[in-house]
Symmetry: C2
Subunit: 367 residues, 2 copies
């Protein structure tokens, strides 16, 4: 419990433009060329703006970004290289550089191809953690396109019928523009939950809902500690009787499109013993004008979004959200009032600022 | 209970080639041109061969096929029409014809485009029920391509946080070739279960697992009768605490790619009051040679499939299946021994045979 006589706010707010400038400076100090630093910063702060707090600055201080650059696991000057190409397709080798650089270059190439042919799909190998999938799918929106982005994630999920962590927390995102409504932005892991929620439950000494995890024998449990004792997260759908094999299949689908198609490999070998821990992605764009008119498309999108929003709430519920709606509202608020960072993260970025000699901006508020 | 003194097998087996010939004859008698009859027969019997029994002959006698043709809801001579086209994209209007005709023509066009550009995606409007999604995604396999197929399904699913049936049991399929293993064929509805399993539970007076359905107030229930009293099926993932909003999002994604992109409309308006009950689809193909070599791809596929199969089984489980494995084994067995049809279905097709004057082939066995 907090001592009421000495109230300290849990969150400190930074202006998003200023924190981007700071982060660019940090990446440049770590040897990242300015344009690549900018791509990485955009991806990470975009996650924070949309409220996907686990995938923004929170990640910067761990092995995926600053840590990886310092240890040499991530090459700051790697150039993503097109190793195979067709009119609507390509494979890019990330050459062990920053994930957001390879993924942004891949998405820009997919968009270029979709401008020419209507469709562009780019598979990426030898990349690293790329932040939130929706950052990349959303890059298609200003071009009147539907964007797709998938990546291999952590090896933490059980394959239906088995035991142990055998498949990936592979997330996918699809973004489609609307007219006067926020865009539809789906961004989902193919597992029931991400690892962060389990860690939180363990920290708080709480049980988790049945259907989140299995123990080391592959049996359902509500004790999150069983995850640490050889258990695994269930795929989306939970156990077999509630369709868990569907989430299992969707996770493997992402291995196929990102890992197998790019030649990078599947999550089991990349994250398993002897694996090189590299990360494959899959990026795509479909030009709406290749199918119909953008105006007709966005008109129907608005009509569908209004229909979904008009759903009568379940008893005790505040109503139905459309995918991307909450993130869009969050982004507007955070662009205006700054992004709130937890003091624990502020501690870590303060250290990084001191390490790199790039001073943090002045906070714009607390909350 | 069955009277032991008068054993009657529950299933009658027909040779798959003979039953296809019969079904072609039936469709031709109902006014369908031979090539279109063949496309429809291939789709329906393919479902039966793979053990997706709900989507084969079982469907023929209801409104989607024979019934629809007889009532005029489905136009037997409709030609699918390309109404918009780019090098890698197209929109097809099914003109209210048979779903398998529009969907096969669309998939063939997607494959043609993928031969030219590496990618082909075709959105379809004004079609009808098309059978099992995996039939279409699988059409890409012999071309060294990854196939995609999605369709709008029944309006039976609750939108997370809401009540009532507001979104579709929209299924999707992705098929990818392997080298010496059966292909990976994902074929999943974006809801926890399909309607058929609920009907079965009601018939048998059984409760259903928590996480399948909600009642009219949008609250979880295990009583399948609540589905008939204004309840709805939950999206894949179940309730919000187990990620049901992810299945909800995947269902809407299919509305976007099939319904909105083709201009056909979304499931809520097509199946709702005043809706025209037409069915949009979305078909796609990615040429593997547009990304890497087919040999390298199928080599990694085999390695991944072997890895998944090598998973230690959960306690009490017979082990891990890879998507498409069971269907492949079923297809081999049924090609050899004939397709077993339940006597109830045999009764209905006997009636259809008599109706149309196309005699059923002689059964090849019982089981």
């Amino acid at each position: 419990m907090k001592w009421k006589g000495n109230i300290v706010a849990d969150y400190v707010r930074y202006d998003s433009t200023q924190i981007k400038q700071w982060l660019n400076g940090v990446f440049e100090k770590l040897g990242v060329p300015p344009r690549d630093a900018q791509m990485t910063t955009e991806a990470l702060i975009h996650a924070d703006l949309m409220g996907i707090d686990s995938h923004g600055l929170n990640r910067v201080t761990n092995n995926s970004y600053a840590g990886g650059l310092k240890s040499g696991a991530v090459n700051p000057t790697a150039r993503p290289e097109v190793v195979h190409e067709g009119p609507a397709t390509a494979t890019i080798d990330g050459n062990r550089g920053l994930g957001p650089v390879a993924a942004t270059v891949a998405m820009e190439l997919a968009i270029e191809k979709a401008k020419q042919t209507g469709a562009g799909f780019v598979s990426v190998r030898n990349s690293s953690h790329y932040g939130a999938s929706s950052h990349y799918s959303s890059l298609a929106l200003p071009h009147g396109m539907i964007g797709f982005s998938m990546t291999i994630g952590g090896l933490g999920v059980v394959a239906t019928g088995g035991r142990g962590r055998r498949i990936g927390i592979n997330p996918m995102s699809v973004a489609a523009p609307a007219k006067n409504r926020p865009p539809f932005i789906l961004d989902v892991a193919t597992s029931v939950v991400a690892g962060g929620k389990l860690e939180l439950a363990i920290m708080k000494g709480q049980q988790v809902p049945l259907g989140w995890i299995v123990d080391a024998a592959g049996l359902p449990t509500t004790d999150p500690k069983e995850f640490q004792r050889g258990g695994a997260i269930l795929p989306l759908g939970g156990g077999p009787e509630t369709g868990g094999y569907k989430g299992y299949g969707l996770s493997v689908m992402i291995d196929v499109l990102a890992g197998v198609l790019s030649g990078g490999g599947f999550v089991g070998e990349l994250r398993g013993e002897g694996g090189d821990n590299s990360t494959p992605h899959f990026q795509g764009a479909l030009s709406i004008e290749g199918f119909s008119s953008l105006d007709s498309f966005t008109t129907i999108m608005d009509r569908m979004i209004d229909y979904l929003k008009a759903t009568e709430p379940a008893e005790g519920s505040s109503g139905v959200l459309v995918q991307g709606e909450r993130e869009y509202a969050m982004e507007q608020e955070r662009l205006k009032n700054g992004i709130p960072y937890h003091r624990e993260i502020v501690g870590r970025i303060t250290e990084l600022a001191s390490d790199t000699g790039v001073p943090l901006p002045t906070p714009v508020g607390e909350s």
